[in-house]
Amino acid sequence: MKPPVIWLGTNTCAGDSLSFLNAYDPGYQFFINELVDFRYNYLIGAAEGNTSIQIFESALTELSGQYILIVEGTIPTLFAGMCSIIGYRNGQPWTALQAVKELGAKARYVIAAGTCAAFGGPYSSDPNPTRSLPVHKVLDKPVINVPGCPINPEWMMGTLMHLVRYGEPELDDYNRPKLFYGETIHNLCQRRQYFDDSIFAKKPGEPWCMYKLGCKGPTTYADCPYRQWNGEHLSWPVKANTPCIGCTSPEFPDGDMPFFSHLPDVKLPGIRLSANRFGMLTAAATALGIGAHLAGSIVNGRLFKTWQKGFGTKPKRK
């Protein structure tokens, strides 16, 4: 029996569903015909209103513990979750928060599709007015995270394939399948030799290592360099001469911005500085402190007296 799949859209740009439709080998046709019993997708489903809600009702009653729930987007928690409504159930708005909790509790597996669902991503970035949370923070059960902004179709297809054919794939500490997120982009990059030889691009568009432009490859776990995008494996950001922005990382985007800078900004109360400027200011403050003390020691005559004493005498015998 093919496992039923419900793909729920919460606070999302729909990028992950659209990217997934570009799956090539296996493709979307194989997915719906051979792999799973695709019951619902918020973007491409033909059902509307009560017909849609009936799909969830039947999943909750007849398919409990059998279906795979895929959630795309963050779950807003402020205003009783009213910032994201799945539909009207029994005449009442059914919020994403309620839907994810209810459907998640009875699902066999829960997959968070995209960085928003997995870690919060852009939809819960500062100032996060709806207090949006990733899926694992609203559910009391393990969630398989398939991050990416958007996801590479094969990351999702491969994870689903593994779940259906072999069970749960090996996961890392962030619950990402090691199959796709087991190595850094930097270590897989075609331009790695340029990095080792310090041949760096000075501006986007140059065919060298993007490290000096703030490439997040060394801190990002994903297989983009050899899997490439989309289904046809044509290109990926560095191949297109732009730096990686680390979209599969849990801290994306707040924790790795600015994208074109090596380090995130230093945030102090009321001040935001680039890390290098903060470093220069620290060096200047240290030099100023030492300089002031040295000047004081010279003016005071203390330094002269100290040096006059010299290196002391030879070690004495007892």
Partner: protein
């Protein structure tokens, strides 16, 4: 010959302390400069390529780690840590020490082996070096130390923390070097010869 050595007064710094000091000093400088190059590759930092900077950082981090650990073990075994770690007396003497260092008095207070400033600085160096080694290992073996990465909020925040700790260590080392060259040259001599 051996007897005459034995008759010498107790050295200010034992041979082991001096050996370890001169192991982690170059390692600290090599780690700092190679680290600055890795952060922002610039020729004036003395490296020809990222490869050489990374190799230097790799070797120096292990020299630093092992000499640091050896120093901690030695300090614990000989109860030498008592001379370094600040105690209640240190904090009590701190205003007196600061008064002199801020030129508010001419009276140079006398302290045992280390003054409160040195105690705070050396303890700070020990704590921040340890944190630097831990964050460095987290970046070096990020897939096996993912729990640590998680604790820091991700690899980018961990990388930033490593950079900020490098700034703290550079500041402390600068302070140490300044005082070493401007306060009592005989004490500076003792880290080479052992004796004042």
């Amino acid at each position: 010959m051996l007897t005459s050595f034995r008759k010498l007064k107790k050295p200010r710094h034992s041979g082991v302390i001096r050996l370890l000091h001169w192991s982690y000093t170059p390692a600290m400088f090599a780690s700092l400069f190679s680290g600055l190059y890795i952060n922002k590759p610039r020729r004036f930092l003395g490296f020809r390529s990222m490869n050489s900077a990374r190799k230097t950082h790799f070797i120096s981090q292990f020299v630093l780690l092992f000499s640091f650990l050896a120093r901690v073990i030695y300090g614990l075994q000989n109860k030498n840590y008592r001379e370094i770690l600040p105690n209640r007396k240190t904090w009590k003497n701190l205003p007196k020490f600061l008064k002199y260092e801020l030129f508010l008095t001419h009276k140079n207070p006398k302290f045992p082996k280390y003054n409160p400033g040195q105690k705070i600085l050396f303890s700070g160096l020990a704590v921040f070096t340890l944190l630097q080694v831990i964050t460095g290992l987290g970046l070096y073996a990020s897939s096996s130390w993912q729990k640590l990465t998680k604790l820091a909020g991700g690899l980018n925040p961990l990388r930033q923390l490593h950079y900020l700790l490098a700034l703290v260590l550079s500041t402390l080392v600068s302070g140490h070097l300044y005082f070493v060259f401007t306060h009592e040259p005989k004490k500076l001599k003792s880290i080479f010869t052992g004796y004042e």
